[in-house]
């Protein structure tokens, strides 16, 4: 069984984000980029499943401009066997890939590669959409186990048992394979890409495909109207008595 893992190149989680002065987006020039932390967890889970003997191959895929190759190299260094880069730099309409577009592209790649499991991070830390996994499951008509905090595979029955982190606690689902799983924080601790592995990854294959080759048409379906910084937190006020507190809650904050 093959496992496909979708990874996204995002601004590194430790970088302080600045909004561009023209409010069209955030400052991306000279900014450190890395693999989305949830995607790292997804890749780690795929590698563990393969190491446990349930899969033969882990394929890492990413979509975007040429620099996505860096993220894929990290994935290869962690242990993925090969990688596919969907190059969107030649297409003018695909400058900002939205979740539905990514889902459509993933569906095409899944049709081509026929993996038994598609694992993604639950959301990307730049847009926090939390949509791609669910959308691609819908397009593929595959079962989905999102916010996975534990994944156990049964090879014979071709079933994945997924423990999900939901608002009320933990929910356990049995999914018939092939299935889509999106990963949550507590699933695992991703491994370091060691120096020897990084060196070996340089010779691993990254296949490049264009949107035309995949035969998928990408129409921008979301338009970013404005990006602004969150409003500055106002300083707190220390009140001198309970009466004053009630007064403020009633007349200033209008909450009682």
């Amino acid at each position: 069984m093959k496992i496909m893992v979708a990874v996204k190149r995002v601004i590194d989680y430790a970088v302080k984000i600045r909004v561009k002065s023209d409010k069209t987006g955030v400052e991306m020039n000279n900014v450190k980029m890395s693999m989305n932390p949830f995607c790292e967890i997804a890749l780690e889970e795929a590698l563990r499943i393969k190491e446990a003997g349930f899969a033969t191959e882990v394929i890492a895929v990413s979509m975007g401009p040429a620099q996505c190759v860096d993220t894929l190299r990290t994935g290869l260094a962690m242990g993925a066997d090969r990688a596919i880069h969907v190059d969107t730099s030649t297409s003018s309409s695909a400058t900002n890939l939205t979740p539905l577009s990514v889902a459509k592209l993933l569906k095409k790649l899944v049709d081509l590669e026929k993996p038994g499991l598609l694992i993604l991070g639950k959301q990307a830390i730049d847009d926090d959409c939390n949509q791609t996994g669910q959308m691609v499951a819908g397009l593929l008509k595959w079962p989905q186990g999102t916010f996975a905090s534990k994944v156990i595979l049964d090879k014979e029955k071709q079933v994945a048992t997924v423990e999900r982190e939901v608002d009320g606690g933990l929910e356990t689902l049995y999914l018939d394979l092939p299935a889509v799983i999106t990963t949550d924080l507590r699933l695992n601790q991703p491994r370091y890409a060691t120096l020897p592995n990084i060196m070996k990854a340089k010779s691993k294959v990254i296949k490049k495909v264009t949107l035309e080759e995949l035969g998928v048409e990408i129409k921008p379906d979301l338009e970013i109207v404005q990006v602004t910084e969150p409003p500055k937190r106002k300083a707190g006020v220390i009140v001198s008595s309970v009466d004053e507190l009630i007064d403020k809650l009633k007349n200033e904050a209008h909450v009682i």
Partner: protein
């Protein structure tokens, strides 16, 4: 510089050089003949208590016929090499002297921005006995870099270079440039000021030391990147000769001596040492040296005490009252630190080692009022009260900006800066 280095990295990779960021060289490898054969990286995934975490990975040994150390000012491995092979003694070089530079990159009003403009100041807010000065460089994209450099041979243990920098920004000449702008990034790093007198013999069996680790900064020019780059080029030529033509690395030293680096540093050698007599004598002598003697004076002034010995006991000084930050021009340390994008994996042993854990309580705090809690631009060192009300030194290694000031200035040389787990540290993007 971070932008320049990234650009150079792309060029190097295009030429086939393999670059592996995110791995820290923590150990030098020797063969049985005490020749350097390479370096080893540190283990990754070690927990705070020293045990192995789930993600533990052993470090790797990287061996090479020639090892070049380019760690910048006060390189941790370079220090060990210079000690092991007695590289300073070999050429009767003096000790290295240092300064701490604290810098911010601002995005300012279009109307106040003059790309290419350079401003240097000396004197205020530092007193006459403390060498240092500030700089304001106008870069592109409405960005301005502003900073204060404080020589680390200062005497007053209550001096806080970070707070002096905050004071500086309120000076009318600086304030009018920065007003209305926003800070994009913050950082700090030490630089060497020893010049010609402090250059060690830079070749050791199996390799050489290049750039600021050896120390080629031209102090009166306040410029060291040009000599550092040239030293790298000369080392490359010598390395090529050693690898392919059977020549020896000692050729690097010959090339240095014949190059414009040492000639330039020779003519600049007396400016900084003159300031050990104070600001006015220093300026007077510098004028003499520059305009009349033109760097060809017959004598070579020597440096004063090493920086860590220059700190006087706290009893001879009184605490300095620094104004509170206003949040617009001046800021507190946590706010500034956030802008440096510095981060280390939390669950790892502290990379700052105390050779003797008792010394902070026995020496640093009672005699010098804990200077490390003042000169560190990242607030790594804090004296907090333990349960019995006794002061304890707390090391917040996660904040570290890798400036090396503590390694330099600690009075008993008790603090040793070692490399943290690979990948950790400040995230300078526009600095």
């Amino acid at each position: 510089l971070s932008q320049l280095v990234r650009w150079l990295g792309i060029k190097a990779e295009e030429l086939g050089v393999e670059i592996y960021p995110g791995f820290a060289a923590s150990e030098i490898l020797y063969d049985s003949n005490h020749k350097v054969v390479g370096i080893a990286t540190n283990d990754m995934g070690v927990a705070k208590d020293g045990s192995k975490r789930e993600t533990f990975q052993r470090g790797v040994e990287l061996k090479g016929r020639i090892t070049l150390l380019a760690e910048g000012c006060r390189g941790s491995l370079s220090q060990k090499i210079m000690g092991n092979y007695k590289l300073r003694e070999k050429v009767q070089a003096q000790h290295q002297t240092f300064a701490l530079g604290i810098k911010e990159v601002w995005e300012i009003d279009e109307s106040k921005h003059k790309p290419g403009s350079v401003l240097h100041t000396i004197g205020w807010p530092l007193d006459h006995k403390t060498y240092g000065g500030s700089f304001v460089y106008h870069m592109k994209d409405r960005q301005v870099s502003v900073g204060l450099v404080v020589a680390l041979d200062y005497h007053n243990p209550y001096l806080n270079p970070y707070e002096e920098f905050q004071k500086l920004k309120h000076h009318p000449a600086i304030k009018r440039i920065l007003e209305g702008g926003t800070v994009i990034q913050y950082g700090a790093r030490t630089l060497n000021e020893g010049g010609l007198q402090s250059i060690p013999y830079p070749v050791f069996p199996g390799g050489a030391i290049i750039g600021c680790s050896a120390g080629f900064l031209n102090v009166p020019k306040i410029k060291g990147t040009h000599t550092a780059m040239k030293s790298g080029m000369l080392a490359a030529e010598a390395t090529y000769g050693a690898l392919h033509e059977g020549a020896c690395m000692e050729l690097y030293w010959d090339k240095l001596q014949k190059s414009w680096i040492l000639d330039e540093l020779y003519r600049a050698r007396n400016f900084r040492p003159a300031f050990k007599y104070g600001l006015i004598p220093g300026l007077a002598f510098s004028a003499l040296e520059h305009y009349i003697l033109r760097g060809r004076s017959p004598l070579t002034l020597k440096h004063g005490k090493p920086d860590h010995e220059a700190t006087e006991p706290a009893s001879l000084h009184s605490p300095i009252q620094y104004p509170k930050s206003d949040g617009m021009l001046s800021f507190d340390v946590p706010t500034s630190l956030y802008r440096s994008n510095t981060n280390h994996v939390h669950d790892q042993p502290a990379h700052l080692h105390l050779r003797d854990p008792a010394i902070p309580k026995l020496v640093n705090l009672p005699h010098y009022a804990g200077p490390e809690s003042r000169y560190c631009p990242a607030r790594v060192y804090e004296y907090v009260q333990d349960d019995k009300g006794q002061p304890e030194l707390h090391i917040n290694a996660q904040n570290c900006l890798h400036c090396k000031a503590c390694d330099i200035k600690d009075p008993k040389q008790n603090i040793e800066w070692t490399v943290p787990e690979g990948g950790g540290g400040p995230g300078y993007l526009v600095m």
